[in-house]
Symmetry: C2
Subunit: 130 residues, 2 copies
Amino acid sequence: MSSKFAPSGEGEGSFQPKFDGQGLLTAVAVEIDSGQVLMVAFMNAEAVEATRTTRRATFFSRSRNKLWVKGESSGNYLEVEEILVDCDEDCLVLKVRLPAKGVACHTGEKSCFYRKLNLVGPAELKRIKS
Amino acid sequence: MSSKFAPSGEGEGSFQPKFDGQGLLTAVAVEIDSGQVLMVAFMNAEAVEATRTTRRATFFSRSRNKLWVKGESSGNYLEVEEILVDCDEDCLVLKVRLPAKGVACHTGEKSCFYRKLNLVGPAELKRIKS
């Protein structure tokens, strides 16, 4: 389907994901109400379709080499409200909801991004106020 | 430096990035005021340090195989206010500011994520209202 607003391949119509050499896309999970980035993980074609149709974020675990429904062991499912797709169709943003008091990070933090890198001096990490 | 809040390697202290097999990290650029995800790209060690010290988002272009100061040709620099680091130290969130009326996407859209994937029926993309 041709686009009214961008070159071919960057418009509307059929989703044609561009998987990398390992068959994966990058997916960024963002809490829909706060806009907080919760986590970043990878998806193969099966994970994309499972996420889209079940509306629960499903990733591909590179370490375990298998599909991984986020929250299947912890209960911290990421309920998917929207999936945004980038210009190159190689990256997704998932707008999600966590359960009440839910956390996305295996450390127990709400977001995996709980530390800040200093911009002056040696490269050191500091915890962000919780 | 040991952490008061998380297992070793997930705490405060020296930043020890875990680059992938290609020597890269994933970096997510988020507009600091709106929380909008603008783009996702990759960084090698040199790009991380350039971003941190110049406070302009600098990526590694896999297609051109070289460092790429975002905005160097368009003027759409991403001015970096904060760099967040994930639990695994393999992904960064850059909190950035665009120039007034600036855009992050090569298509002319503010964000690369200007399309939404439908959640029901065939996998189709629709433009988000601009």
